[in-house]
């Protein structure tokens, strides 16, 4: 949350008659599962990072920052989130534009915004801002939304997605589309429309192919036939399949994965950490992690059902389902059923921005649940 939006939110406090922050909210099921996932993640990372305690400590600091974000977000009344949504969306869109302009000037890939002390990727924040904006737009309209309303919603999603895709960061752009699209889906657009738009996107695939950059095309081609480029992009998939496959039921044991420790496996501590887990803890470990993820998604969906207004309902549902999309895209990529897009394994891969954003999202879920009015108004 930027400082300016908090000051802005202070004004209507009187009008709405309730403070931004109310009673202390801690969603225990969410919190405990998050602790379990990140803890498991740190254990795997220690092995993946070549038993480098320093890197694990740095990731631990990021996780601590994430939990702080969780607690802060959990205390904010959801109605303020609703009021802030358009402002947050516009601010992040502005940042994306700034990054695009700066990238135009420096003639290169530009994803990071340097704020002096901290560098962060505005595209990460858009993963939250886009579904919030969609939920805000739909919150006091009759659902299911009409066709003109759907057009507005498509614009809300498409504009930032195009900006991010041009950075170029196709993976994040697709995730933003997924986050916004899921909110629309939950709002109740007709099954027929879903089928039609699905057909349309299939028809648009060739257009997308033409507009892709060479390295993005290479990734898709490598997905279709990894062996075509065994020294480069295909190498990752070949090695990660070997790592997963050789894990068997219970794995080779912690710190004993030969694929990971003999450095066959690339990007072990980031995008491909799932393969390290699969090699060292086997099918058992992987399924355990998937169950933990499912608990988080299930809790989120439960919160969505229990939510009392359209905004929180759509937001909670979309955030939970998007989280699952991250998991599925990463695990699918590493196990070779999806193309290699740079999506980290949520809460486990080394990396800061994604960890903090995700924890913040879970904080919002906790807030939605914790600030319900228990007596019917």
């Amino acid at each position: 949350m930027s400082l300016s939006s908090i000051e802005w939110g202070a004004k209507p406090r009187k009008a709405l008659g309730a403070p931004v922050v109310g009673k202390l909210v801690v969603d225990l099921p969410l919190l405990l599962t998050l602790v379990a996932v990140t803890g498991f993640g740190l254990v795997v990372l220690y092995s993946a990072a070549g038993e480098d305690a320093g890197r694990v400590a740095r990731q631990g600091v990021r996780a601590a920052l994430g939990f702080a974000a969780f607690f802060v977000m959990a205390q904010i009344q959801p109605r303020y989130l609703r009021i802030w949504s358009p402002w947050l969306y516009c601010a992040v869109l502005g940042l994306l534009l700034a990054v695009a302009v700066e990238g135009e000037i420096s003639q290169g890939a530009q994803r990071w915004l340097d704020l002096g002390i901290v560098r962060f990727q505005p595209s990460e924040l858009m993963k939250l801002a886009a579904p919030m904006m969609v939920a805000w737009f739909l919150h006091d309209r009759t659902l299911p939304p009409s066709l003109p309303q759907l057009l507005v919603v498509s614009l809300i999603i498409a504009v930032p997605a195009v900006l991010i895709a041009r950075q170029p960061d196709l993976g994040t752009a697709l995730l933003v589309v997924a986050a916004g699209g899921l909110a629309v889906l939950l709002a109740g657009i007709s099954v027929r429309l879903i089928l039609v738009s699905g057909g349309l996107s299939l028809a648009l695939a060739p257009v997308l192919w033409i507009s892709m950059l060479d390295y993005q095309r290479a990734r898709v081609l490598t997905f279709l036939n990894p062996e075509s480029d065994p020294l480069g992009a295909g190498y990752n998939i070949i090695q990660s399949k070997i790592a997963i496959g050789s894990g068997h039921l219970f794995g080779k044991g912690w710190l004993n994965g030969s694929q990971a420790h003999l450095e066959f496996l690339p990007e072990r501590s980031t995008d491909f950490i799932f393969a390290v887990l699969a090699e060292e803890f086997g099918l058992f470990g992987v399924v355990l992690l998937l169950i933990l993820y499912l608990v988080l998604v299930g809790r989120g969906l439960y919160i969505a059902i229990q939510a009392q207004d359209t905004f929180t309902r759509l937001l909670a549902g979309s955030l939970s389902l998007t989280f699952f999309v991250y998991v599925f895209v990463n695990a699918g990529m590493v196990s070779g059923i999806l193309p290699v897009v740079g999506v980290p394994l949520p809460l486990v891969s080394a990396g800061g921005t994604s960890m903090v954003t995700l924890m913040g999202c879970f904080g919002i879920l906790a807030a939605i649940h914790g600030h319900r009015k228990l007596l019917p108004a």
Binding site: F137, D140, R141, T142, L143, P144, L182, L185, L186, A187, G188, P230, L231, G232, Y235, K241, I242, A243, I244, G245, S246, G247, H248, L249, S258, Q259, L262, E263, F264, A278, G282, L283, V286, V287, L290, L294, V297, G298, L301, A304, I305, T310, R313, G317, L321, F324, F328, A331, G332, S335, G336, I337
Partner: protein
């Protein structure tokens, strides 16, 4: 806030719709999870045997195959850079248990420098486990010493390899450059995949600038190896069995050969003429910009760098007072001194500030109106009444002080810039920097002048710019380029060292056309006046370079120059003997020949050589003598005589 919808919200219906969507989504989530688990079961249970074999008992390994680096030839087909077989010390990271211990053991054997442990350890760690990392080249004796103790160094091996060899050693060093071990900085600018099997990369000169042409494309072969890294099945040795074994081989594509504009005979003559001094010489063909010789002295032996200098040896080379690694021809900036006079004379004729017949009286010094400061002429007694011809032949300073004042600094700067002074010429190798052509605008932009009153352009600064002193700086390459432009009567070509590339297999030369630059347009009569004066410099009784160029069969047009390294105070006498060698003037000389239809233009700078006539002109004479001797067929086998 969005517009309220006109219809009433049906909360019960909406909630039911939402609930059904959540249930549908949850079902999809579970289905996708099932797909994922199914995939994992397939990989980890059903295909376990295969992947386990790949991972533990046998490994399918991809062995990258290095491409052969392209050769470098001079314009006559002489080899300047080639690849020779050698022994190499290599490491295989995955087989190394105790890296630190191994390195210490190698140091004890005298094979690795103790100071390099960290660099080598970083290098080894930055590679994939199965990649063979080249540590250094070994001599025969070192290879033998290691071979008998090989069992004590698991993960370290020796292999045959190729080493870059430069037959002409230091003579070609600054033009051709050298290759060295790939550093982490190099890794940033290359496609790592293409260098998977390559240990060396071009660091400077042609080797660096045409790295992508010379390197070629990496190949690979798949091998089956056991856990200890022993090759069990190698398609290269199986011949026809390749297809049946399912192992693939893609052969590397060798790099292309590069053909240079250099004439090694001339290059050697230039290198020898500069031997023992600090300086640079560049010879350019005015008809196309081909660099025929490019020497910076002192030079270094590129073979030592290609073989791998120890850290201390490299430090010693860098600390050398004469700075042999510094490319003076491309990056040495010197005041041009009087060599700038022909260009300024031409500009004055062009702007009609002088006619060939205008005379200036030279009493041995020059004064600006209303100022007592005396700008001296190099000849204390003066040259008397003198015209442009005489002023260039005898290098009269007072004439050019007056000319500079008449012409004005703006016109001077514009004219010199049109000849290619100022910004870098854009020669096709790295490391070139531009010179300085000062102007009021330039001075305002300089950060070293902080106070506003220091940013003002003074009239006296125009005066000394007339004889190429003050802020004005040029590189030897720029001087040669401008001289070539003058020789070609204004036709400009970008200086270049590469004239074509050659296919390794077929040997067909792909010639690259020279790149014409915007020409300098002047009246033919004006060119002729200054040209005649430059011929006078070597032929006239009073010519400043008559002695060093006496008796040549070809006619040379030239100009001497002397660049002050330090300033003489107003009333002080200049006594060369008392000045330390490092404070002595730089000698410069520019020339082109044959005067009637120039085929070669030369610029020579000799640091602290005294005057241009004494130090630089004799060097140019030697270059020109060899050029015309080889052209005439007298010394066709000059190189054979030397080597």
């Amino acid at each position: 806030m969005p517009k309220r919808s006109p219809t009433l919200k049906d909360h019960w219906r909406e909630q039911r719709l939402f609930f059904s969507r959540i249930i549908a989504s949850a079902t999809v989530v579970l289905l996708l999870t099932a797909v994922l688990v199914g995939r994992l079961v397939q990989l980890q249970i059903f295909d376990y045997q295969r992947f386990s074999e790949l991972s533990q008992d046998n490994r399918l390994r991809i062995e990258p195959l290095p491409p052969t680096r392209g050769l470098i030839f001079d314009r006559n087909g002489l080899v300047i850079a080639e690849n020779l077989p050698t022994w190499q010390l290599v490491a295989v990271p995955e087989q190394i248990a105790d890296l630190e211990g191994l390195l210490q053991g190698l140091t004890a054997l005298g094979l690795v420098d103790a100071a390099e442990h960290q660099t080598l350890a970083d290098l080894i760690r930055s590679h994939r486990g199965f990649e063979r990392v080249k540590l250094r080249n070994l001599t025969e004796a070192e290879a033998a010493r290691f071979a008998v103790r090989r069992h004590r160094f698991p993960g370290i091996d020796i292999q045959e390899g190729l080493i870059r060899y430069y037959p002409f050693g230091p003579a070609s060093a600054h033009a051709v450059g050298y290759v060295g071990s790939i550093s982490s900085a190099d890794l940033e600018r290359i496609d790592r995949r293409n260098y998977a099997a390559t240990s060396h990369i071009g660091k400077t000169g042609i080797e660096r600038a045409y790295e992508d042409v010379l390197h070629g494309q990496v190949g690979y072969r798949q091998q089956v190896v056991n856990a200890r890294g022993r090759v069990l099945l190698d398609p290269a040795e199986e011949g026809g069995e390749v297809a049946s074994a399912g192992l693939e081989t893609r052969w590397p594509v060798p790099g292309r050969n590069v053909v240079l504009s250099l004439d090694m005979r001339l290059q050697l003559a230039t290198y020898e003429a500069l031997a023992g001094s600090r300086g640079a010489a560049v010879a350019i063909d005015p008809r196309n910009g081909d660099v025929l010789a490019l020497v910076s002295a002192p030079a270094f032996d590129p073979n030592r760098l290609a073989a791998g200098l120890s850290r201390s040896d490299f430090a010693a080379l860098q600390a050398d007072n004469d700075n042999p690694l510094f490319n003076r021809a491309l990056a040495g900036r010197y005041p041009p001194g009087s060599t700038i006079k022909p260009f300024l004379g031409l500009a004055a004729l062009h702007h009609e500030k002088k006619t060939p017949h205008d005379h200036t009286y030279c009493p041995g010094f020059f004064r600006l109106p209303g100022n007592t400061h005396r700008y001296r002429d190099w000849r204390p007694q003066g040259h008397g009444n003198i015209d442009l011809y005489g002023a260039i032949v005898q290098s009269c300073d007072v004439y050019f002080y007056q000319l500079a004042v008449d012409l004005g600094i703006e016109r001077m700067a514009a004219a010199l810039t049109s000849f290619g002074f100022g910004p870098a010429t854009g020669i096709d190798i790295n490391g070139e920097i531009g010179g300085v052509i000062p102007s009021p605008e330039w001075k305002r932009a300089q950060p070293q002048f902080k106070r506003p009153e220091d940013k003002v352009w003074f009239p006296g600064e125009t005066v000394i710019a007339g004889i190429g002193q003050g802020y004005m700086l040029v590189t030897p390459l720029q001087l040669a380029h401008a001289t070539a432009t003058f020789a070609a009567r204004g036709a400009r070509f970008r200086p270049r060292l590469m004239i074509g590339t050659e296919d390794t297999f077929e040997g067909r030369l792909a010639y690259i056309e020279p790149e014409a630059l915007p020409p300098v347009e002047m009246d033919e009569a004006d060119w002729q006046v200054v040209h005649d004066a430059m011929v006078g410099v070597t032929r006239d009784q009073r010519g400043s370079a008559r002695a060093p160029l006496a008796g040549t069969e070809y006619v040379v047009a030239g100009k001497t120059g002397t660049a002050q390294v330090f300033t003489v105070a107003q009333e002080e006498k200049y006594n060369e003997e008392e000045i330390e060698e490092r404070l002595r003037d730089h000698g410069l000389f520019i020339a082109y020949a044959p005067a009637e239809s120039p085929r070669i233009a030369v610029a020579v700078v000799v640091e602290n050589g005294g005057g241009g006539s004494r130090a630089a002109a004799p060097v140019a004479r030697k270059i020109l003598d060899v050029y015309f001797a080889t052209q005439a067929g007298i010394v066709e086998d000059y190189v054979a005589l030397q080597y």
